[in-house]
Point group: C2
Chain length 277, copies 2
Amino acid sequence: MAPVPPPVWTPGGAGGHTAAVVRPVNGESVLSRVVRVLEAFDPEHRALRISEVARRAGLHVATASRMVDGLVEHGWLERDPDRRVRVGVRMWELATRSSPALGLREAARPVMEDLHAVVGQHTQLGVLQGEEVLFVERLSARGAVVNITRIAGRLPLYVSSSGLVLLAHAPAPLQERVLAGPLRAHAAETVTDPRRLRSLLAEVRRSGYALARGFIDGETAAVAAPVRDSTGAVAAALSVVVPNDGNAAAVVPAVRTAARSVSRAMGRVDGDPSLNE
Amino acid sequence: MAPVPPPVWTPGGAGGHTAAVVRPVNGESVLSRVVRVLEAFDPEHRALRISEVARRAGLHVATASRMVDGLVEHGWLERDPDRRVRVGVRMWELATRSSPALGLREAARPVMEDLHAVVGQHTQLGVLQGEEVLFVERLSARGAVVNITRIAGRLPLYVSSSGLVLLAHAPAPLQERVLAGPLRAHAAETVTDPRRLRSLLAEVRRSGYALARGFIDGETAAVAAPVRDSTGAVAAALSVVVPNDGNAAAVVPAVRTAARSVSRAMGRVDGDPSLNE
């Protein structure tokens, strides 16, 4: 199965392109343009010509060109020898060095390496972002089963084990929005019935883990468990992707143990009953 | 030894604060302000009050407040419950999913894991950024020697083994700028004499690796080797930090082998003589 494409910014019907051009040039609209220019880049569009930046950002070529020049000057974009433009290492550095995701990744990484060494399969860490799970870390195994996630990739909450854990512990309004659909089948076993999904979420809360067999792809299953921060809130989900051969449940204790270790590394107090979740 | 603090943006003497306020509000100056607001955050300042953002970015509080509101609206900054502001996961996602550093990290990671498993010490991947080495990946070992690098951290080129490899293969003007100094001693063995540094760089090019014993800290040594991209250019340096106990040279073959494997994963052709470097 092909990776789910990331959302692309598209100028909204009435307000899009025209509004960006005619709106007075004030701080807010320039800020929006900066964001739109940078959001034009994604894994399928890592290097763009100015005309492509303009089209994807909904800007005139002259405007896009001026914005790109400024961003190149600050090192946020870089120009290839063939004049195509890429996201600069400077932007990655700024975003990474201060990101809350970095603390989480650093706390999780040694435990993820241990889990990865033991189960020999893809091991990943996801956080809730909008109505999707965003994978902030992944250790992939050569020769392991197919896995469509990648670092900084996203999946809908209801199709992945990590997403189910995050959704099960999410605020009620978000759960209701997701349950209201649309719930699209990604594979034969994706749960697209809101009542079944609601009871699955209750089961995830009760058992302390999510097991998703063939939700994304008939060949794979995944197990996820919640990672809690020092306040007890679910901050992330730790998951392992394994072959869908009927033995997926065997990794549940390892994943739950590892998730508790990450919670502990994040300052979760030993012996707290909510660690049992 | 304390970590070297990252560079902080400071408003330039005459032109700083005043220029930012009086300059006409056009695309360029707003863009600069966006960059300055986001550059106000670093590992020691992950959460800032608006007044701190304003001070660190050299902006009036009202201006900083308006910029922060806009960036929060786009998810590039996030507000804590206590109203402090942080870099948002959205910015990390955008910077990471399209970054050239991600392709490099993905190519390097399996090999880094192997090297890390064998040597049991910090294993890291650095790229040239300005006149410093920027670490884009790091596998750290629990119980390994002290290591002051971190992901998205930087070090001067002449004090780290990775930096020496990158500097040895950098364009001549950059080498001359670094050799012109100042070259500051970080530890007893840091090479601060330009003539000695120049001959060390020649030796790094000749031998195909850099060995830095006690350059940063008397307790540690490091070995680095170049990673080349498909054009043969040095794209990164792969390094291992080990105890400075006289046995550091023993990891040279492992580091060189691993660096060649990463080069190969990045499309470097098998059997090319420059792989020997």
